[in-house]
């Protein structure tokens, strides 16, 4: 079951590659939150109640409800155009994301470790590099934040792979998520909206030598 959910997560990564509208990105992020909750629930059998509530809070309340709502609010408030405006055509994006996933498969084949469930490693590394790829090829600040959220989801999956042994690390990961999420979105996107009219990265490229 966990495998099916993780593969669904991988497919959602490819879908991000073709997505044209910002709302599609937001829906996908919310969807990934639900998938992550499913994986965590199945995977962390030995976990105690308090940790489970914490993880539930993180995946459902934070990732699935709060962040998408907030992104929606930011887009509406600042009148951001609805297109994602990638530098690359969507077709090439899909090809590159597929190559990333294939690459993580090949990398995982070089590991000889019977404790590790390789699928966690593959999905986490794919999400990490897909997130970096999205940051590198999209124009808007808000899509950069979304790319970062994809990376965070990958980190969450990786921390689940060690979660049964060391629940503390899962908690630290969640802490990172919430901390950076609040810092980037809460304080910053609002501030940028106040100072800049159009939230385009081009306006933040004046600092140079």
């Amino acid at each position: 079951m966990a495998n099916i959910l993780l593969i669904t997560f991988l497919i959602s990564l490819i879908y991000i590659g073709v997505a044209k509208r910002l709302y599609t990105y937001i829906t996908l992020l919310a969807f990934q939150g639900i998938v992550l909750f499913g994986v965590a629930f199945i995977e962390l059998i030995e976990i105690n109640t308090i940790n489970l509530i914490f993880i539930l809070f993180e995946t459902i309340v934070f990732k699935t409800i709060a962040i998408p709502l907030f992104l929606n609010y930011t887009i509406n408030k600042n009148n951001i155009t609805r297109e994602a405006e990638p530098f690359l055509p969507n077709f090439i994006s899909v090809v590159i994301i597929t190559i990333i996933i294939l690459g993580s498969f090949l990398l995982s084949n070089t590991i000889h470790d019977q404790h590790l469930q390789k699928i966690f490693f593959i999905v986490a590394v794919s999400a990490l590099f897909t997130g970096l790829f999205i940051i590198a090829t999209r124009r808007k600040i808000i899509t950069h934040v979304m790319g970062f959220l994809v990376i965070e989801n990958g980190v969450f999956i990786l921390s689940l792979a060690v979660g049964n042994e060391m629940p503390m690390l899962v908690n630290i990961g969640i802490l990172l998520d919430i901390f950076v999420g609040v810092l980037l979105l809460g304080i910053f996107v609002n501030k940028i909206g106040d100072v800049l009219k159009e939230q385009d990265v081009e306006q933040l490229r004046k600092l140079r030598d």
Binding site: H115, E152, V155, V162, L169, G173, L176, I192, L204, D209
Partner: protein, 475 residues
């Protein structure tokens, strides 16, 4: 003591944040400095005693704790001067000082932590507090600098976390759970090499954003440029040390495994590229603060080169880092005064500084000699030892390239500084030039004198501390 210290720092920063009264603000700052110094002296007298299970003041931590406490005093003094001559809104002043206190406390705790996860948490805290400092002026350009800093640092800190997770995978395989540095060092030789390699790559890359090395050095440059100069002094010296700490602690673990040579190669590449990048930018940069930031990248590159070459280079690396932490703030403080005279950081608008502020011009001149490691600068000794280590470890060709690059850096840095001191500025109105009191430069002379003293005639206690700090590395 560390528990009391962290609690005290939290209370001080909270009070600073809530308080709007000017006098009370500076009383609280003075109170925090006293706390910082009491804490430093206490830890120095309690070397290697574990506290709260996660903190051990070992020699390395204590050296840099002392450096931090020394630099913090002039940093707060120059902040006071900064607010006297700039826009002084109670709310902004409150946020600025609260952020400074949080930054210094987080740095102290990160130095002392003996657990890889705890270090990570406090390094993350430094990002938060540095953000508030960089955004202090609240205009479009500082917004850009802050945004870049926050974004790159967030990605880097995530990379470090991924590295820690890979390390955990390696531990899990052997049925281990303890993530403290000591336990990791003892068990390092049995861990899976593949995971260790991945962990090193991610942790090293992640911490380079704080340390100011290739590949993630970019964030720090804008931060040092856009933060007010007293805050820039901290970001450009003690905050870079914390990045080095993250790298060094993990390097100690790696040094007990079979991939030690591989890790050394990675660090050699990163260090050499840092010096190269710094040279390229210093040749063309026109903003004096950015030039200082790139000079920091160059020095961190040298430190990593010294560490990777081993032998006497390790001693030299730590010494160089200490001296750099005294020399660089001097220049940042002085640039704050330069800015008050010319209202510009562009070197075309700055000139004939001797005419307008003799003491400041002398600081600038001396600091130039100190930072470019010309005798009698203490950095001459540390750089010389780093070069010797490179020669002895057989990296002669790399050494030749680095020396050529350093020559270019000295030339372009000198060109800029002498232009600022002696050539006529463009379009500068001589009326209403602010007279800078001599006493404001005093702290800078003291810092420069310390660089010379610690380099030429280091006290034996200081040498012992450095030698103990690097004693965990195999010969």
């Amino acid at each position: 003591m560390i528990g009391a210290y962290l609690l005290g720092a939290f209370v001080f920063s909270l009070l600073l944040f809530l308080n709007r009264n000017k006098l009370l603000n500076y009383l609280l700052v003075a109170g925090f400095l006293v706390l910082q110094w009491v804490f430093t002296v206490y830890e120095y007298n309690h070397l290697n005693t574990e506290e709260l299970g996660y903190f051990i003041p070992d020699s390395l931590a204590v050296i840099f704790l002392i450096v931090l406490s020394i630099v913090a005093v002039p940093a707060f003094y120059h902040s006071y001067i900064y607010f006297k001559h700039n826009r002084d809104i109670p709310r902004e002043r409150a946020i600025y000082h609260a952020a400074m206190v949080v930054l210094i406390a987080a740095l102290s705790a990160a130095y002392l932590s003996s657990h890889i996860g705890i270090t990570w948490i406090f390094v993350e805290l430094t990002t938060l507090s540095a953000t508030a400092l960089i955004y202090h002026r609240r205009n479009l350009r500082t917004l850009e600098g802050t945004w870049k800093y926050i974004f790159v640092c967030s990605i880097s800190i995530t990379l470090v976390f991924i590295g820690i997770l890979f390390l955990t995978l390696a531990l899990q395989e052997e049925g281990l759970k303890n993530l403290s540095y000591q336990a990791l060092m003892n068990k390092a030789s049995v861990l899976n090499v593949f995971w260790l390699k991945l962990a090193f790559l991610f942790i090293f890359t992640g911490y380079t954003s704080k340390a100011g090395l290739v590949p993630m050095y970019t964030a720090g440059i804008d931060a040092k440029d856009k933060a007010p100069s007293p805050a820039g002094a901290l970001i450009g010296s003690v905050l870079m040390n914390v990045g080095f700490f993250g790298i060094f602690r993990f390097y100690e673990i790696i040094s007990h495994t079979s991939i030690f040579n591989w890790a050394n190669k990675i660090m050699l590449i990163s260090g050499a590229l840092s010096v190269f990048v710094a040279t390229v930018y210093m040749l063309r940069v026109k903003n004096i603060k950015r030039m200082l930031a790139y000079s920091g990248v160059e020095h961190m590159g040298l430190v990593v080169l010294g560490l990777a070459c081993g032998g006497i280079g390790r001693y030299a690396a730590i010494l160089h880092l200490v001296l750099h932490s005294f020399a660089k703030p001097t220049l940042f403080f002085q640039i704050g005064q330069v800015y008050r005279v010319y209202q510009s950081k562009n070197i075309y608008n700055i000139g004939n500084y001797f005419k307008y502020n003799i003491t400041g011009a002398l600081v600038l001149l001396f600091a130039y000699f100190i930072v470019t490691a010309m005798p009698p600068s203490g950095m001459f000794i540390s750089e010389f030892l780093i070069f010797r280590a490179m020669f002895e470890s057989g990296n002669t060709w790399l050494l030749v390239v680095i020396l050529l690059l350093l020559t270019l850096i000295i030339w372009s840095f000198g060109k800029t500084i002498f232009k600022m001191l002696f050539t006529r500025p463009i379009g500068f109105n001589e009326e209403n030039v602010e007279k800078i009191p001599v006493v404001e430069s005093l702290s800078q002379f003291i810092l420069l004198a310390m660089v010379i003293y610690l380099g030429l005639n280091p006290p034996s206690e200081f040498i012992n501390l450095i030698n103990t700090a690097i004693s965990n590395l195999p010969l």
